[in-house]
């Protein structure tokens, strides 16, 4: 440690350098922005300008900042949730029995359908305050981010290498130290990647959750989402374009300033024993590493975190690492199950009562048919997107120069909230009098198709050179090459991308099957439109039914198609 500080002092460069100036500007700008937003969130709802949106482009930077901060509030909440929920599920066998399936279900529930009700809930917590609306929006984003992060962390906790676990026990690390020295670092690469995926999904939700109608009232939180909503009402295509531009800038900034450096930094925690070729550091990370002030600040933060994680806290009595000496007690198991019974009974009772008064079998039948229609859309879209992007992705992935350029672009496009791109499409449908049942459909994959592209690019780029050479040497070409060489080679990557894409498409159905342009409203038949319609009418029973059936479809889709495919790919088609 001492010899690290030595050269910096020896050079006598004590004056801040140019980068320090840049850094100071950035830091203070962020602080001012935070204060401004904080003031905005704490005013009463009926205060002047509290929920008023203006289409003046000059307001866009301010709106963009507020939208972004909502995102970060949600991601912080998701991280807190991840560190607690996943830890509880991984460390306690009994809790895990309940918590893991819950997480699995929550992952496939389209929360977008519940937006109205969460808004009502949070407004009742802070009556008459903008804070209630803000929290509702943050909650909506949170629900789109937290589950996969928690899952990734849970899986990391379950796969901590046995020798490191033994080493930490034999060197007397306490539970707390073990968590911060071993388990969290081990989970970092997966967690960072999933956080990035979550952020991409989150932009979609933040835009959808800023303009919310509750009964007859429509609230608009200052932000890019409500700006677009207003532009749609007023048929102002220029404003829509401005918003798209602003969003492009925001995503570019967050991508470059935050996630590129974060991903590069997380490579340090990758569990591998050999040094692999790594890409160049992103420019932001270079600045951070070269700027004296930022370096000192980073060092201070680092040692604070280190001291925090190094605290010799212990929540459980120290014990040996073997599982053999604390056998699970069946009596306690039975007691835990018994405690669950009343809760379940209560839930079933209320559900049955609620459903039997409000809904009939005919409703279920109708929703099921609509679900089939939406499923057909998802299947056709994923198939089409695959047909288009797999060959393109392979072509790009096999050319390293192109892959390096396209990969960030595809990730960037995946992060862009596709709902901002809806208005131009709607305008086209209206002016050419196209059939909404067909032409609204592509909107569902507008944002999610990129997952297929960048996963296929990654797969093709990782395809071993010797196998390529072997294929060339034996003159394997044409269709045979696709069937025997490259498609099996990229299959597990493709499945990963397709799972994300199809999950996102189901969710997008709720906003993509009903779109409006001023007073013109285009509706496609499907479960998404059904849920959106019920939400508009405030018909809770039908929202619940619609969301439940959609969750069921997503769950079955995952269990019957994607999981077996993924398992097969992992077993048979991985090159390791």
């Amino acid at each position: 440690m001492l010899n690290n500080a030595y050269p910096a002092l020896a050079t006598g460069r004590r004056l801040p350098n140019l980068w320090d100036v840049v850094a100071i500007l950035c830091v203070f700008g962020a602080i001012v922005g935070l204060v401004h937003v904080g003031q905005g969130a704490l005013v009463p709802l009926n205060a002047p300008h509290a929920t008023e949106i203006s289409l003046d482009p000059a307001n866009l930077p301010g709106y963009a900042v507020r939208t972004t901060l909502r995102m970060f509030a949600a991601i912080l909440a998701s991280l807190l949730f991840t560190l607690t929920y996943a830890t509880a599920a991984a460390k306690s066998r009994r809790l895990g029995l309940v918590l893991v399936p819950i997480l699995d279900i929550l992952q496939s529930v389209p929360i977008l359908g519940f937006l109205t009700f969460t808004v009502v809930f949070f407004m009742s917590l802070f009556p008459g305050q903008v804070l209630g609306l803000e929290l509702a929006a943050v909650f909506a984003i949170f629900t789109s981010q937290a589950w996969n992060m928690a899952f990734s962390f849970y899986q990391s906790l379950k796969t901590v290498p046995a020798d490191l676990a033994e080493a930490s026990v034999s060197f007397h690390l306490t539970g707390w130290q073990r968590f911060w020295r071993l388990e969290v670092p081990f989970a970092v690469p997966g967690l960072v990647w999933n956080t990035m995926m979550s952020m991409s999904g989150g932009w979609f939700f933040v835009v959808a959750s800023e303009a919310i109608s509750v009964g007859d009232n429509t609230w608009k939180l200052p932000g890019i989402g409500s700006y677009v909503a207003l532009a749609l009402e007023q048929r102002d295509i220029h404003a829509v374009l401005y918003a798209i531009g602003a969003m492009l800038v925001v995503i570019l900034l967050y991508d470059q300033l935050l996630f590129r450096p974060l991903v590069a930094w997380s490579a340090k925690f990758r569990f591998e024993t050999t040094a692999s070729a790594t890409a160049d550091d992103p420019w932001v990370l270079r600045i951070i590493r070269r700027t004296r002030l930022l370096q000192l600040a980073g060092g201070a933060v680092g040692s604070a975190v280190g001291a925090f994680g190094g605290l010799r806290l212990s929540f459980l009595p120290r014990r040996s690492a073997s599982a053999a000496d604390h056998k699970p007690s069946r009596v306690v198991d039975a007691l835990c199950l018994l405690a669950l019974v009343p809760v379940l009974a209560w839930a079933v009772y209320h559900l049955v009562g609620f459903v039997s008064t409000e809904l009939s079998w005919a409703d279920l039948g109708q929703v099921f048919v609509l679900g089939l229609i939406t499923m057909l859309r998802v299947i056709v879209l994923i198939a089409l997107a695959s047909l288009i992007w797999v060959p393109i992705g392979v072509w790009i992935g096999l050319r390293p120069v192109w892959a390096r350029r396209v990969q960030p672009l595809a990730q960037f496009l995946a992060a862009f909230p596709a709902n901002l791109l809806f208005p131009p499409v709607v305008l086209a449908i209206v002016s050419f009098h196209l059939n909404p049942d067909i032409w609204l459909t592509p909107l569902m994959v507008l944002g999610t198709q990129w997952y297929i592209l960048f996963n296929v690019v990654a797969g093709a780029a990782a395809f071993p050179g010797d196998l390529q050479e072997a294929a060339k040497n034996f003159q394997v070409g044409g269709f045979l090459w696709w069937r025997r060489v490259i498609l099996p080679g990229i299959f597990s990557y493709y499945v990963t991308g397709a799972i994300t894409a199809s999950g996102g498409s189901w969710n997008a159905a709720i906003v993509a099957e009903v779109v409006s342009w001023g007073t013109t409203k285009l509706t496609a038949h499907g479960l998404g439109a059904y849920i959106a319609d019920a939400t508009d009418k405030g018909d809770m029973a039908r929202v619940v039914l619609g969301v439940a059936v959609m969750s069921g479809f997503v769950l079955l889709f995952n269990r019957l198609l994607w999981r077996p495919l993924y398992g097969y790919a992992q077993r048979r088609l991985t090159l390791a």
Binding site: N3, D163, S170, A275, S320
Partner: protein
């Protein structure tokens, strides 16, 4: 030398230690360690020598407080061990370094866990790093280092806490020959000079020469169940010379010990076992088997070889050569006794045969001497569709051995059966069949 050590205070005492675990459905306990006794005093290096599966690593983990024995007493300085004891530090076969911590941070880890203040931590870490020859690498991450340097970090991390007892779990087996030798001599030099801040060392190894080169006392373990077959005192002063005839003689004797002991044990185990199919098989490839038989048949061995010499010239460790020899013995292709191996008539005819005949001979040997293989083939012959799930065989094996051994045994028999064209196996469906078998 042993008289001097006998006067030293006792550090560790293991009495009648037994480690077994019960399968959920099974009726019999699976015994890993049986009736092991060990006394360790200050000032000695002791080796636990044995084949894989002899329970020596299990014993080390019990001493480290990572495992609790099923029965028996383990005391550290007179106190029963409950969890990792203070004054015991461990070096791992896989190094077990934290890839996100630098060399310095890895070394400081144990001190940090004990709440040693930062300044003292850094000083002691520097001292340990310099002692073990890692000076200059403080800020490197493990993945930037070679295997030898990584294990030096593992050593420094253990030494920095100034343990009374240093535990080493096959510390050099993941390293190449030259690197391992450098590390061994460096460590012994430090020990002989009294510069190693430890009072005693307990190391697990399957390398016979390593044990004779480094330690004062060797406990030779037998397999199934693991127990101490014999205890030897190594009388040579350091530095030791591998080419010294007395050294060679000791290595030869240990080879003889290790090849003599398992045979009666194995026979007893099969006699006691409820089903003969539950014989643990070693994962030995058919290419290795034919290679060894061809080598044995050719000059200079002409059918008979001394195992240590054979191991040396083939660059195989005892842990690799002994299972190979035993498998050939099981198939009646060779006989292993008293540290020697010689080909049988079946072995010779195998060597002289062409591919198809070799397969036929191998299939005959399998059906005659490997009950599991014979049983699989019999079941397949009896079934109308000539198919059988591997799960039932696995379950049956797991009634008599740990899941890991059951898996290894099943994989061995699959490999041999495929080579012999006795049956075929579909990995995806986990199914044996007679497809492609004429």
């Amino acid at each position: 030398m042993d008289t001097i050590i006998a006067a030293h205070p006792t550090l560790l005492e293991v009495e009648a230690c037994r480690q077994s675990y019960r399968k959920d459905a099974g009726n019999a306990d699976l015994v890993v360690l049986e009736d092991v006794n060990l006394t360790l005093r200050e000032g000695e290096i002791v080796a636990l020598l044995g084949r894989s599966g002899s329970g020596k690593s299990t014993l080390l983990r019990i001493v480290a407080g990572l495992l609790k024995p099923t029965a028996g007493r383990v005391t550290w300085r007179g106190e029963p061990i409950k969890g990792p004891a203070d004054g015991v530090a461990m070096v791992f076969q896989s190094f077990a370094l934290f890839p996100w911590l630098t060399v310095q941070e890895n070394v400081e880890l144990g001190l940090e866990a004990r709440g040693v203040p930062r300044v003292e931590r850094e000083q002691r870490a520097e001292a340990a790093i310099d002692l073990i020859g890692l000076g200059g690498f403080e800020s490197a991450y493990p993945k930037e280092l070679s295997g030898g340097m990584r294990q030096r970090v593992g050593l420094a991390r253990a030494l920095v806490v100034h343990p009374d007892l240093l535990l080493m779990d096959e510390p050099f087996s993941a390293l190449d020959v030259l690197t391992a030798e450098t590390l061994r001599t460096d460590l012994i030099d430090l020990w002989s000079d009294g510069r190693l801040p430890v009072k005693s060392v307990l190391m697990v190894t399957h390398n016979i020469e390593e044990a004779v080169l480094m330690t004062d006392r060797i406990l030779v373990f037998s397999t199934n169940p693991g127990r101490v077959a014999s205890e030897l005192v190594v009388p040579f002063p350091h530095p030791r010379n591998r080419l010294d005839p007395a050294f060679r003689q000791m290595v030869d004797d240990i080879y003889a010990l290790m090849t003599r002991r398992p045979a009666p044990g194995l026979r007893a185990a099969t006699a006691l076992a409820p089903a003969a199919i539950a014989m643990p098989l070693h994962r030995v490839g058919t290419n290795m088997m034919s290679g060894l038989m061809e080598t044995l048949a050719g000059p200079p061995y002409e059918g008979r070889a001394d195992l240590p010499a054979l191991a040396g010239s083939l660059q195989l460790e005892a842990d690799e050569l002994l299972p190979l020899g035993e498998t050939l013995q099981l198939l009646h292709f060779a006989v292993v006794e008293e540290g020697d191996i010689h080909l049988t008539d079946q072995g010779r005819s195998f060597v002289n045969a062409e591919t198809d005949d070799r397969k036929r001979l191998f299939a005959e040997a399998l059906r005659a001497h490997v009950p599991l293989a014979a049983m699989i083939r019999q079941v397949l012959d009896e079934r109308w569709n000539h198919r059988a799930s591997a799960v039932r065989f696995r379950d049956e094996l797991e009634d008599h051995m740990s899941p890991d051994y059951a898996d290894e045994t099943l994989r061995s028999v699959i490999g041999w059966g495929r080579y012999a064209e006795l049956f075929s196996y579909d990995e995806e469906a986990e199914q044996f069949s007679l497809e492609d078998i004429e």
